[in-house]
């Protein structure tokens, strides 16, 4: 969706302000929100892509005026309610009123180290041969889906070149909606800064994205 999350190239946000000796978390509630979101993700009720979709679906004004973990919290509450795992009233009170909904699994304390050391790879056996090869000239498709997408606005319709072929991966647009879809080839697509930003480009600069195959068409 063309939401507030798609920030590449926006003006007006001012300089980058780094905090010296920044702590990992700035408040106890941030620690808890982080851990709750990670642990609920492990229940397999929704995908990581669905969580990203929930976060970027916040109204733009709220997205831009909320802190990072506030965004996570709001998205988590929305997902819990949408999946029938907790009602808004229960979340307000902190007390369960109805029996819990089903979850596929519950993360145990002694599972955290082995599972998170291994990670959760999202590459998959390819369903078809790769359409593009390194060096191919492409154009990023000009598309504006209402749902979750990983194609940023600033490359849409712009010419680029295939720089790497990463393999086939879970397609986030489908995974965000819980839809089954074939894995898609993932590429590094490189764009000349001048093709993206014209006379405002950093001279000689390039910007790359990790592009799913359906985001690209051959350049003629």
């Amino acid at each position: 969706m063309n939401g507030a999350q798609d920030l590449g190239g926006a003006h007006g946000f001012g300089p980058v302000e780094a905090e010296a000796n920044e702590p990992v978390f700035h408040a106890e509630w941030e620690r808890r929100v982080f851990a709750l979101a990670m642990a609920m993700g492990f229940t397999k009720t929704w995908t990581l892509d669905a969580s990203r979709a929930a976060r970027e679906s916040l109204p733009p004004v709220e997205y831009l005026s909320s802190s990072y973990y506030e965004i996570w919290l709001r998205a988590l509450e929305t997902q819990l309610a949408e999946h029938g795992l907790a009602s808004p009233e229960e979340m307000r009170s902190g007390t369960s009123r109805v029996p819990p909904g089903p979850v596929a699994r519950v993360l145990q304390g002694d599972e955290v180290a082995p599972l998170f050391d291994r990670g959760f790879p999202s590459d998959r056996p390819p369903a078809a041969p790769a359409r593009f090869a390194v060096g191919d000239r492409i154009i990023a498709r000009n598309r504006h889906p209402l749902g979750h997408t990983r194609l940023p606005r600033f490359v849409r319709g712009r010419p680029g070149i295939i720089e790497r072929v990463h393999g086939a991966f879970v397609f986030p647009e489908a995974a965000a909606e819980g839809r089954d879809a074939p894995p898609q080839w993932l590429y590094t697509a490189a764009f000349a800064a001048e093709d993206l930003w014209g006379e405002s480009a950093d001279p000689g600069g390039r910007v790359t994205i990790a592009a799913f195959e359906s985001y690209l068409e051959p350049s003629r």
Partner: protein, 221 residues
């Protein structure tokens, strides 16, 4: 929020990191109360285990961080064959050092040279190579960086006090999928006699994002 008798036990492990006391319900801010109620509910429902929450926080607050990435960079500086493996396929090379996992399943390491400087961003959210750098700092997740890194990377570097020669071109890596990027910075001058541990101490988090350079030997003392 209602005063549940067991709530202190739910959040009671980590107070010493904050330097102030969360035990008094009357002092909770609205968001603290909201999160505490949510945690209480999700535990009561059986969806989350308190020990798992504590283990997640401990892992990402105290165990995983840029010291991991610094070890990778230092190894690449001293071992050319490791450097070649790292640049060819990041994930298995990093795993040689016992580093890997969630948020770094598909690592791509990009090398700075005198001709090319690399800068990593996630314009759409906050994708970041967790196993080597830990959780991202606030500025990495905030709109100013995400908006400007792709359009005005040299201006962003100037915000960090980094000025590159005009002859150095910048490649920006937007982390739009599960491939995660780490910059291999150039080894600083004057480090010929240093061992791997001393080299790792020069490698800053920002030098592995591309918003900084490694320290010089004099800086790190």
């Amino acid at each position: 929020m209602p005063a549940e008798p067991d709530q202190d036990s739910i959040v009671g492990h980590d107070h010493d990191h904050d330097g102030h006391d969360h035990d008094h319900g009357s002092t909770l801010s609205p968001i603290e109360a909201r999160v505490r109620a949510l945690e209480s509910l999700l535990i009561e429902k059986g969806y989350v285990q308190p020990a798992a929450l504590d283990a997640l926080i401990e892992r990402y607050e105290h165990q995983v961080g840029p010291h991991n990435g610094a070890r990778v960079v230092a190894r690449a500086w001293v071992d050319p064959s490791f450097r070649a493996r790292l640049l060819a396929d990041g994930t298995p090379a990093i795993a040689e050092l016992g580093i890997g996992g969630r948020g770094g399943e598909h690592m791509v390491v990009v090398e700075n040279t005198p001709e090319t400087h690399n800068l990593v961003v996630c314009t759409l959210c906050s994708c970041y190579p967790w196993p080597v750098l830990g959780l991202p700092p606030v500025w990495y997740k905030a709109p100013a960086y995400r908006a400007r890194a792709v359009l005005d990377p040299r201006g962003v570097l100037a915000d960090f006090g980094l000025r590159l020669p005009d002859t150095t071109r910048i490649t920006v890596w937007d982390s739009t999928a599960e491939t995660r990027f780490m910059v291999l910075p150039m080894r600083p001058a004057g480090t010929d006699g240093l061992d791997e541990a001393a080299l790792a101490a020069l490698v800053t988090r920002d030098s592995m994002i591309g918003t900084g350079l490694p320290l010089s030997p004099g800086d790190a003392a």
